[in-house]
Each structure stands twice: as C-alpha cells, then as structure tokens.
C-alpha cells in the first residue's frame, strides 16, 4: 500500500462524507492523490481501492477512462495545449509544433530535466483566449511563440 499524508487522509475522509455512497469519492480522491504522489500507478490504484472498499479493477477502469489522470511520472509543469477548433483556427497547430521543437519532445513526453510534460488536449473552455494552453490549472491565452517563451521562462 502506498503512503498517504495525515492531512491528506483528513481531506479524503471529508470528501467521502459528501456522498451517500463511498465510491462517488473516487474521482476526487484520485485527483488529490495524484497531486501527492505525482501519478497513479498500480500500487496507488490498489491503495485507493482498499480505501473505498471496491475492487482494484474498478479503479483502473476509471483511471484509464479519464484523460486527466497520469499513469506515469509527469513533469513539474504539465502543459495542456488545445488542439480543438477555435484554437486551430487561430494558429494553434503552429504553436503545438513550436512547443514540440522548443522542448525537444513529442506529445505525451516529458523533458529530460523533468520540468515540462507536453500534452495536446481538446477544448479547455477558454476559447475567447484562443490559442490557449493550461499549465497546472492556470490558463494562458492569446499565445504567440514569444509569449510561450516568456511563460515557460517564468515557470521555475
């Protein structure tokens, strides 16, 4: 079983209490533990399963269905860049290629210094700022190569 910090367990217990059925807390618990562990691996899934009294295969089903759960280690900054319609209309594809070249990685990969992971995602719901990327929950819009340079530089 993987270790969970005490404060985290308290948070998890309060999440579980929001629902009449323990299993409902699964998605949120996976978010919380992903923040703590960095990613959800086999041992993590087993741990979560025993927390909620469900079969580990049920956890794996959920982890592999939703795109936000990382199954292997990701970089300190997870760059999610949109490849959907409005962003593409406003030059998104060029920016995706720019990022790939700049970071020297392909989609889904992490830079060798472990700082950035690059993923292309579907519509992030910030189309007024297109082209848009999201890094660790923060939206960055109206992107240009120069803006991207500055944003990445500022991320320590």
């Amino acid at each position: 079983m993987k270790e969970i910090k005490n404060e985290t367990m308290i948070k998890i217990d309060s999440i579980i209490s929001r629902y009449p059925n323990k299993r409902s807390a699964l998605l949120e618990i996976l978010h919380i533990l992903q923040t703590e562990w960095g990613y959800i691996d086999r041992e993590g899934e087993e741990t979560v399963a025993s927390l909620l009294g469900i079969h580990p295969v049920d956890v794996h089903e959920v982890v592999t269905f939703y795109t936000m759960y990382a199954r292997k280690p990701v970089g300190k900054y997870r760059i999610l860049i949109c490849r959907n319609l409005t962003c593409t209309l406003l030059g998104g594809e060029t920016l995706i290629n720019y990022l790939k070249k700049k970071l020297k990685i392909e989609e889904g990969e992490t830079t060798s210094d472990g700082k950035f992971t690059l993923e292309t995602v579907e519509c992030l719901g910030a189309c007024e700022l297109a082209p848009v990327m999201q890094i660790n929950g923060e939206f960055y819009g109206n992107l240009t190569p120069e803006k991207i340079d500055k944003i990445l530089e500022d991320l320590k």
């Binding site: 409902s24 996976l30 909620l52 406003l90 519509c123 189309c127």
Partner: protein
C-alpha cells in the same frame, strides 16, 4: 436591454452579491409553494441552456412528487462542447447567481442535496465555487434550515477528470457515482432513476442561473424577452475570427448577423465571413449566406442546425474547411466512450477519412463514404454523442462538398494562407 445573468458579473463575493440585490429571489421562492415555483418556470419558457434545449419546467415535473427515495440535483458544469465558455464566466464572475438558482430549483423539486459537476480542467474555478459555497453556508443560506425555514440544502462541488461525454446527463450521473462516464440507456430517465437510482434533475449552469430573475420578475416577463417558444435571454460565447471574442447576453431572437457584426466587432482584419458554427461543434455549420437567421431554438432547428450551447465559432475566408472537418471528427473519436458499436467504430473512421482529406491523401468517394458513415451513426447510438459527431459531418459534407472534393482532386488545400 434586460440582462438576466451578465448584470451580476463581477459580484463575486457574497457581500457584493447581496448588496446588489442577490438572494432576494431565493427568499421569495422559499415563501412560495414548490408548485408555484415550477409554474413560474413553466411560464417562462426557459429551455435547457446546455445544448439539448429541453423545457426546464417540464423536466422538473417528471420527478415523482411522492417518493421515499432522496432526490438529487446535479448542476451540469462540465462545459465540454467546443467553443463554449459561458458557464465558466458565470462561475468565475457570479458564483452566487448559480447558488441562488440551485436553492430555487432544489426548493421547487424537493431536493436536499445538490452536486455541481464541474469539469476537471476548471480546477481553479472549482475553488472559487467552494469559497462561495462556504460563504453561503456561513450566512445560513445553505445547510440546515436555510434562510430560517425548515428546508435543508447541502451543495457540493464534484470535479470531473477529463471526458466530454460526461456532459451527457446519464454519463454525468455515472461519473458522479465514481464510475466510467458511460451513458445509460433510456428509459428509465434520470427524473425517476438517476443518481444512485433515485429521482434526479440534471440542469446546466446557465439554466439554473436564469432562475433568480424568473422568480424575481415572474415567468411571463422572462418569456417576453425572447421569442414565442424560446423565453428569455441567452449567453452566446463568441470565438474564432472575430475582433471581440467573449460572452454576450442577448435576447433569444437576435439575429446571428447582429451578434457577429454589432456585438463581436465583425471579422478581424475585416475579412470576408466564410462559415459559422452557431451552437458548439455539434451544431451543423452555417454558410455566410445563412447568418440572417434568428438565434432561437425553433429557427435554427428549422434551418437544419441547432442553438445548442450557443457557442458561436466564426470562420473567415482563410479557413480550410477540410481542417475544420479533421479537427471536429478527431474530437468526437477522442471523446467517444466506446460503449456502443456505431459511435465507437464510426467516429474514428470518420476522423481517419477527414485526416486523409486534409493532408492531401483523400480518395474519390471519401465524401460520400463520410456521409454514409454519419447516417449510419445518426439515431442508432445509446446517447446523443453519436448524433453530435454525425451532424457536423453531414452539414460540412453537404454545404462544402466542392471544397472537400477539390482537396481530394488536387491533393492539397486550395486556400492561400500566409
């Protein structure tokens, strides 16, 4: 112009919101009987603002009054329809408007527990919502005996984790139960067998946020703002090749031309308009000649399109339609949950064909094949995602066939781009 929602934008804290008159409608609703509240909502002609456009009052009336099962409200804040960002605006800029609407809806239907299902990517917005909820609890507007009545109401935020299909109401419920977001077969409907198999109402953020003004000013007032069958105003999220992308609240019945040119500033660079998607990527595309259409549920349906979420994506003459088709089909293939055969196998097939066309590897007959696949999916799937994937393909292939065939023939994009 009466602004039902955007006039509250900026009143983020509960103090600001109350100062501007917030939570008065909730108090008023609690002094009415639940049936009276449902009547007002029915009179208002409010229709679901998430995309399906189902009459809200009617949806509520499907929930059995007599039942010994608990009832639930799920607020659909999954906002995954490409081009849509209006619910994000509401939750960022007026979270208490949403909470006030939740109180009204819960009182009307007899619900004591509400979950706001918010897409996982809106994590920062979720934090803001949690703060607003805390504020409401501390003032006794949520929790036990709200506003001094003997009505209890608990509201929780529940984060999704990246799946467009969870915007479909039964998939949302499955996800809330901690499972894969696989839509359920209907019947039975969520109104009788929803969350934990209990009576459940699923409503979009904007729909719920329209309730305070309906209660405050009356259902008839709301209905009068729009057209005969579509009451009220609507938030339109405009993006794409416009000068001023953003959220615009306009009465239903405003013309698309007015929205694009008078409100969103017209086409950037003053270029020519080529096409518009009026209600999110699932809605059939409109050509530049079709923009005099009235933005309401009936008119768009009659024109073979739909109002959907009201996400207006504007495309100018530099747009390659084959690229648009490629991006849209790729989206649905990526988001298909995989449960039923036509969507699971049909959406990636369409995506592969669209990709070949866009990259100059299209073959003769590809456009007809796309149309045939789309028709094989329409109406045959467990949930509307199949239809949502098929309709844009049919519209683009029908209205822009010449451009697609040119791609296939010339093996490259005919548009000159910088």
């Amino acid at each position: 112009m009466s602004l039902v929602i955007t006039s509250w934008f900026g009143k983020v804290s509960i103090e600001e919101y109350i100062k501007a008159g917030g939570y008065e409608a909730a108090k008023k609703a609690l002094s009415m009987s639940p049936d009276e509240v449902i009547e007002e909502v029915k009179k208002s002609n409010l229709r679901g603002r998430g995309g399906a456009g189902f009459p809200t009052g009617l949806k509520w009336s499907f929930v059995p009054k007599e039942t010994n099962k608990p009832k639930y409200l799920c607020v659909n804040a999954d906002e995954g329809e490409p081009g849509t960002f209006k619910d994000r605006y509401i939750m960022e800029k007026a979270p208490h408007l949403l909470l006030e609407g939740v109180i009204i809806a819960s009182w009307a239907v007899g619900i004591n527990k509400a979950y706001i299902y918010i897409r996982g990517e809106y994590s920062k917005i979720a934090l803001g919502l949690e703060r607003a909820i805390e504020e409401a609890y501390s003032k006794g507007f949520l929790g036990k005996s709200i506003f001094g009545t003997n009505f209890d109401l608990d509201v929780y935020v529940h984060r999704g984790a990246g799946a467009y299909v969870c915007g479909e109401e039964t998939a949302l419920i499955e996800s809330l139960e901690g499972k894969r977001g696989n839509p359920r077969i209907r019947p039975p409907f969520p109104a009788t067998h929803g969350l934990y198999n209990c009576p459940t109402v699923v409503n979009n953020v904007e729909t719920i946020s329209s309730l305070p003004s309906i209660i405050r000013n009356g259902g008839e007032w709301f209905a009068s703002l729009g057209t005969e069958k579509s009451g009220g105003t609507k938030l339109f999220a405009v993006s794409g090749h416009v000068k001023n992308p953003g959220v615009y609240e306009l009465p239903l019945g405003t013309s698309l031309r007015e929205l694009i040119y008078d409100y969103a500033g017209g086409i950037r660079g003053n270029r020519r308009l080529k096409a518009v998607i009026p209600g999110g990527s699932s809605s059939p595309i409109l050509t530049a000649e079709e923009i005099n259409i009235s933005l309401d549920y009936e008119s768009l349906m009659k024109a073979g399109s739909m109002l959907g979420s009201g996400a207006v994506i504007v495309m100018d003459e530099t747009t390659c339609i084959a690229e648009v088709l490629k991006v849209i089909t790729r989206f649905y293939a990526h988001e298909s949950c995989g449960q039923c055969t036509p969507c699971r196998q049909g959406t990636p097939w369409m995506a592969k064909i669209a990709e070949r066309i866009a990259s100059g590897k299209g073959e003769k007959g590809d456009v007809d094949l796309l149309i045939d696949i789309a028709n094989s999916i329409m109406g045959k799937t467990i949930c509307p995602l199949g239809d949502a994937a098929a309709m844009p393909v049919l519209a683009i292939c029908n209205k822009f066939r010449a451009e697609l065939e040119e791609h296939i023939r010339e093996k490259k994009c005919p548009i000159e781009r910088e």
